[in-house]
């Protein structure tokens, strides 16, 4: 009763329901409210889940679209002449002799011969960057595998370089070809030639050049607008200025600006005339799309274009300078300007030509799963990091599981409840919240500097991650022990089991699934941890697959970090692919946690 009237004999009318039906009405009203609240709450939950799911979908889509192509590597089907002199210097076909052979020369020679129109050192240098640096090693390994190949001409798949690989995966520049609708006649087969068409076949190219011109006009018009604004401002100042000198200055400035406007306007008019008049040829710059004419079995790069005539440079020489019929020749477009891509027009045409000739072989990228890191994206793999992760997690598991379980058991079952155990408990809970890089610093200070353990080693990484995982395992372990019904303990003790027997025979087996779940989650956390490992040198660039606990190694997340930090574009897909592998590991581990729980969970 909130009413404060002192009269107690006649209770004031507080609106309290007086009859059951009134009360029931109120209940009905409150029910409606409660259901509405419940509905609202459920909706919030659904929205939250929807958001979370959509984030996951976005994340996975992004990673998969970026990363799936890393599992494929483009290979060139190279026909190499394995002449005995270079390949087998001692002439006895022994592995030592074959290993000493010179493969680079024959590989590169074969490569340059495969490409069309490689002439001179400049071309060779340009071509070289398309092939993987390890191509000759591939050839050597093939010869070592099959010494019979010596002296024969073998066809071997060798890797393309990373830029070429990206091109073939359609991630750098697209080559769009369109059959032309008129006949054309080249003026020659080599060098700089002119191709004349009997119709306006090259208007599209000219348009591209005109876009460039329009950009120029835009720039000029911006300038003019700027001048005009300044003139307006000066004139306003002029109308207010009283000092004669100042007025003269202002008038001068206005005059200069007006002149500039006149010049620019003239320029604009000139360019507009060029755009309007389709007769003249316009030059294509490196900032515009590239155009290539495929005619009479050759390829010509367009340098300047008019509606029915182009001037160009021959990339691949033509068979003849005869007239090409309508539809038998093509105009190819590279929409991305040459200045904006890593591959030059010539390199693109080489690659395109190889693909046309069926020498491209897309294979599953085994290197990615079998080799260590490399500066060359096409030679980089995650196996080194995966093995490093494996060794590191082994150490973590071997240390943290027994220590964690024993700590949990002692604290939960045996420790006296006093200030000391409270302190330990608080500290363990706090440790779970310590930023992981701090553990890295501790590892650096203690394990490396005091104990003198090796740098970059899985042993130390595992020890640092143990520090990080222990609180998780201990907390999960204690929760699991707490969840074991006390009746089980009582039953065992009542049977005359000692405390250790009750613990090991009855309580621990029941708590084990929970403890294992906690451990696996802790391990999954450790698997994804980067920061503490940076501090102990596991961020180093390590090419070799680690062979033991003290070998220099890196781990999967650090590998991802290193790749993400690399400038080469080909590492983008490697990064995403490595993330996919890491996620696959994590999902497997979490799945294992669920299965372990299901498998060992017992009803009581």
């Amino acid at each position: 009763m909130t009413d404060t009237t002192p009269d107690v004999t006649v209770p004031p009318d507080t609106g309290l329901p007086k009859t059951p039906s009134e009360a029931s009405n109120r209940v009905r009203q409150s029910l409606r409210r409660r259901y509405a609240a419940e509905k609202r709450f459920r909706m919030y939950g659904l929205i939250a889940i929807g958001l979370a799911l959509s984030f996951i979908v976005v994340l996975f889509t992004d990673i998969i679209t970026k990363g799936h192509s890393a599992f494929i590597q483009s290979h060139l089907t190279l026909t190499v002449e394995l002449d005995a002199d270079s390949v087998d210097p001692q002439g006895d076909r022994s592995p030592e002799s074959l290993r000493d052979g010179s493969y680079r020369g024959i590989t590169l020679r074969a490569f340059f011969e495969t490409l069309r129109g490689v002439s001179g050192r400049a071309d060779q240098r340009e071509a070289l960057s398309l092939l993987s640096d390890a191509a000759d090693i591939t050839v050597r390994n093939a010869v070592l595998d099959q010494p019979d190949l010596v002296g024969t001409t073998a066809t071997l798949p060798v890797k393309f370089g990373d830029d070429a690989d990206i091109f073939f995966k359609g991630k750098s520049v697209a080559v769009e070809g369109l059959p032309a609708q008129s006949t054309a006649t080249p003026s020659g087969t080599q060098g700089e030639i002119t191709i004349t068409a009997d119709g306006p076949a090259f208007t599209a190219i000219l348009e591209q050049a005109k876009i460039q011109l329009r950009d120029d006009i835009q720039g000029l018009e911006d300038d003019i607008a700027g001048f005009q604004r300044r003139i307006d401002r000066y004139q306003e100042e002029l109308s207010q200025a009283t000092d004669e000198d100042q007025r003269a200055d202002l008038r001068d400035s206005i005059a200069t600006m007006t002149d500039a406007i006149a010049t620019d306007t003239e320029k604009v008019a000139g360019i507009e005339a060029r755009i309007a008049n389709p007769g003249d040829s316009e030059v294509l710059t490196r900032e515009s799309s590239s155009y290539l004419i495929r005619i009479n079995g050759g390829v010509v790069k367009v340098l300047a274009a008019a509606p029915n005539r182009i001037e160009g440079e021959v990339f691949f020489s033509l068979d003849s300078d005869r007239r090409a019929d309508e539809g038998s020749w093509q105009i190819m477009t590279l929409p991305i300007a040459e200045s904006n891509r890593r591959l030059s027009d010539k390199q693109v045409m080489w690659l395109w030509d190889l693909e046309e000739r069926g020498l491209l072989d897309m294979q599953f990228n085994t290197t990615f799963f079998t080799s260590g890191d490399s500066r060359e994206p096409e030679q980089a793999g995650i196996w080194g990091a995966a093995v490093g992760s494996f060794f590191t997690l082994m150490i973590t598991l071997l240390l943290s599981f027994p220590i964690g379980v024993m700590t949990a058991v002692y604290l939960e079952e045996f420790a006296p409840k006093n200030k000391w155990t409270d302190l330990i408990e608080v500290n363990i809970n706090n440790l779970a919240a310590v930023p992981s890089i701090v553990f890295g610093l501790l590892g650096l200070a203690m394990f490396l500097n005091v104990f003198g353990l090796p740098r970059s080693a899985p042993l130390v990484g595992g020890m640092v991650l143990t520090l990080m995982t222990l609180p998780t395992i201990i907390i999960a372990g204690r929760a699991a022990l707490k969840a074991v019904p006390p009746s089980i303990r009582e039953a065992a003790l009542g049977m005359g089991a000692s405390r250790i027997q009750a613990m090991t025979h009855h309580v621990l087996p029941l708590a084990m699934p929970g403890m294992m779940t906690g451990t696996i989650i802790g391990m999954a956390q450790a698997l994804g941890e980067t920061a503490p490992l940076l501090m102990i040198g596991m961020v180093a660039f390590i090419v070799d697959i680690p062979g033991g606990f003290t070998d220099p190694a890196t781990v999967l997340p650090v590998q991802i970090y290193i790749w993400a930090d690399s400038p080469e574009r080909a590492f983008v897909e490697k990064t995403s692919a490595a993330i996919m592998v890491l996620l696959a590991f994590l999902i497997t581990m979490n799945l294992a946690a669920v299965l372990v729980r299901k498998r060992f969970e017992k009803r009581w």
Binding site: S487, E490, A492, G494, M495, G496, S498, H505, R603
Partner: protein, 291 residues
Amino acid sequence: MSEKGENVMDQPNKSDSSADLAKNSTVAPKPSAPQAEGTGRTKMSAKGVDVFYGDKQALFDVDIDIMENRVTALIGPSGCGKSTFLRCLNRMNDVVEICKVTGDIRMEGDDIYDPRIDVVHLRARVGMVFQKPNPFPKSIYENVAYGPKIHGITRNKVEADELVEGSLRRAGLWEEVKDRLDQPGTSLSGGQQQRLCIARAIAVQPEVILMDEPCSALDPIATARIEDLIHELRENFTIVIVTHSMSQAARVSQRTAFFHLGKLVEYDETETIFMNPSDDRTQGYITGRFG
């Protein structure tokens, strides 16, 4: 963390003295009577037992003699300390950190709170059955075989098989479970689980079995079976049972102790307690005036 009782006396060999010391009006013990008849040799005796939970005193100066081969029922309203007293008899209170037991509790003259007494051995001699059936989440066989195994009573599979069968038979469970000994004990019904717990307790061949409201979670039919079982077990074991049901106390026990507010109010032959109680509170409780 075993909390040692502060013993007033420390005489390990005084087998009958505690019976003489019993001050409540009990039936005079007849030490000469044959054991099999269970005519009242004192098996366990408690004298001046106080129990504290932290600062709170739960039992005040309890004196009881438990007679051999008899069923002793502990009755009283909730929170009167009867379960607490029961758990003192096999030192199950040791597990409770804040619990402190003082006074003198003897089993055949040996002070069970003596530091020299091994609590594991004590619990092998004084078995316990709990209020809620609590079989181990293991097979029926393992449930029964576990105790004998850890105590070294059975040394091989043949012995274990024999003992498991014997114990299950005595608990009246054998016929029901003999074909599924490998199934989890938790798959049985509540009454069966409780009988399994009894089988588990008697497999260790204790001298005394403590039962803490063994039927409170069971239906009347299962309760009746357990009560029959208690009757049979009395021939071989000394049984102390805590019960809320006065009719159960009347049915199964020969002697009854009535607890109230942590004090032992009256302890006598069951018949006397129910027909002719000497204390008003006992009278009030059994006639249902409070409790």
